[in-house]
Amino acid sequence: MLGRSVVIGQYVPLDSPIHRLDPRVKILFVGITIVGLFLVEQWLAFLALGVFLLVLMFQAHLPFGYVLRSLKPILFLLLFTLVLHLFFTPGHYLLEYGPIRISLEGLERGLFIIVRLCLLIVATALLTLTTSPVELTDGMEYLLNPFKRWGFPAHELAMMMTIAIRFIPTLLQEADRILKAQKARGMDFESGGLLQRARNLIPLLVPLFINSFKRAEDLAIAMESRCYRGGVGRTRLRVLTMRTGDYVFLLFSLGIVVLVKILPFPW
């Protein structure tokens, strides 16, 4: 009951020009932007790319807080990188205290990397916040299709992802149910030392695994009875079609990245 309306992933179902873009275009856009972010070396170039992403974010009607929230998981990584660069880059020292030295170059490098990582996350968040998981896997399958020639299992990979995403809420619901059932048998998940707590997971995980295996078997039978036999000759319910807007967006973002790279920024 709890799992029935759990929002999967980060997708924010809104209607905006960015939401309506072809998922393939959005995936390519993220790729292009990431390459761009690693190529540019000037602060102004970062600023330009930052403004570009910000504009897209507003176009997508995304609240600023949502995008910021996606930065939270890497907060530690950011701090760690900054500290590492601060202390271990030689150059003109701003501060010296025994073995601890902070250099101007370190500060600059550190901030540089942080900005780069942040923009990277914002770019990917733009994709995951505006594209439903189903669209995302669909887009990936299309993009990976050319690699089939060399034996790359594009369809199988996409199907696996779709199934995994489909069963996240089911699994959550199941875990909730088993947790409650074991609590009803006097299980105490909250107290005890670390070892005890780890051991406490057994009554939760074992039934969860057993039921998942059973469900996988049922699913296999259900798929076979609907004549599923892999990706060969399979047609789709939602056919992805590129519209003019999609091409325009793709060329536009490519143009921006190239422009930012070749423009001679003073710093």
Partner: protein, 294 residues
């Protein structure tokens, strides 16, 4: 009074746009030795109500008292409440994780800190209560049993705490007719011989007619009817609006009445109906007259 609910409100995913109101002002009391059926459409709040009885879910407003203790009391009291009110979930065999039937049933009392000889006694008692052979089955894997046996192991795994109230969510779902009869019979026995209080959620009115005396009909988070099962089932038209069809026996009784054969509408079991018809036919023979009423 064993369990008392006072104006209980509960909703899922509260404070989000997806909020679902599950219970809306539920008040009821459960007395020692009663057997109660809870019925209603899927999603009417039955299972949510059941989880309030042992404190797995806590009311957002209102109170649930078990033996006078609020389920919101933290610490040892909450464990005690779970021990007193045993809750058997739907498809309880899904929660198995141990390698032997013994360990599976011993899980709950072990969590209560019971070990050794006493533990073995409790497990043996619980298995006997549900009609499982202790020596023959205790070392078997719970996963190699039949569906009916698994269900009984699951019920035993709650009984081993020796609860005062047993709450069961669809105890006979997915079992064959024989397995059903056996479990209902054992539940009946537990109540009659050991004074266990029963609360049974079910969609099978036939099952409830066999072992339950009081019935609570729920509708969209509220109690629509709370009273004797005979009374409820004799009012087919009233309970139909809550998605409940009385058992065949009650339907036959009311059909007979509507065609002028004055049987008692409150019969529940085939045996009762048969007896009622026999008595009425005999009466007619004695009087030698027609029974059509004015």
């Amino acid at each position: 009074m064993l369990i008392e609910l006072r104006d209980v409100f509960f909703s899922y995913l509260s404070h989000t746009p997806f909020q679902v109101q599950a219970l809306e002002g539920i008040s009821l009391s459960i007395h020692r030795g009663e057997s109660i059926g809870i019925v209603g459409r899927t999603g009417c709040g039955k299972s949510t109500l059941a989880q309030h009885l042992n404190g797995l879910l806590l009311p957002e407003a209102g109170q649930v008292l078990v033996n006078g203790i609020d389920t919101r009391t933290r610490g040892a009291a909450s464990k005690d409440i779970r021990k007193k009110v045993g809750l058997v979930f739907q498809y309880p065999e899904d929660q198995f994780f141990e390698e032997s039937v013994f360990k599976e049933i011993a899980f709950a009392p072990r969590n209560m800190g019971i070990e050794g000889k006493e533990l073995e006694e409790k497990v043996q008692w619980a298995m006997e209560m549900v009609g499982l052979d202790f020596t023959g089955l205790k070392d078997k894997s719970p996963f190699e049993l039949s569906g009916g046996q698994m269900r009984r192991v699951a019920i035993a795994s709650i009984l081993s705490m020796q609860p005062e109230v047993l709450v069961l969510d669809e105890p006979t779902a997915g079992l064959d007719p024989q397995g059903k009869r056996l479990i209902l019979g054992k539940l009946q026995e537990l109540r009659e011989k050991h004074g266990l209080t029963l609360v049974i959620i079910s969609h099978s009115m036939e099952d409830l007619a066999r072992i339950v005396e009081r019935i609570i009909i729920m509708d969209r988070g509220k109690i629509a009817f709370d009273g004797s099962i005979r009374q409820a089932f004799s009012q087919g038209d009233f309970i139909k609006q809550f998605g409940i069809l009385p058992p065949v026996v009650s339907q036959v009784a009311s059909l007979l009445r509507s065609r002028g054969f004055p049987v008692n509408p409150e019969v529940l079991t085939p045996a009762e109906l048969a007896e009622e018809i026999r008595v009425k036919v005999m009466e007619k023979k004695e009087r030698g007259s027609c029974w059509v009423e004015a």
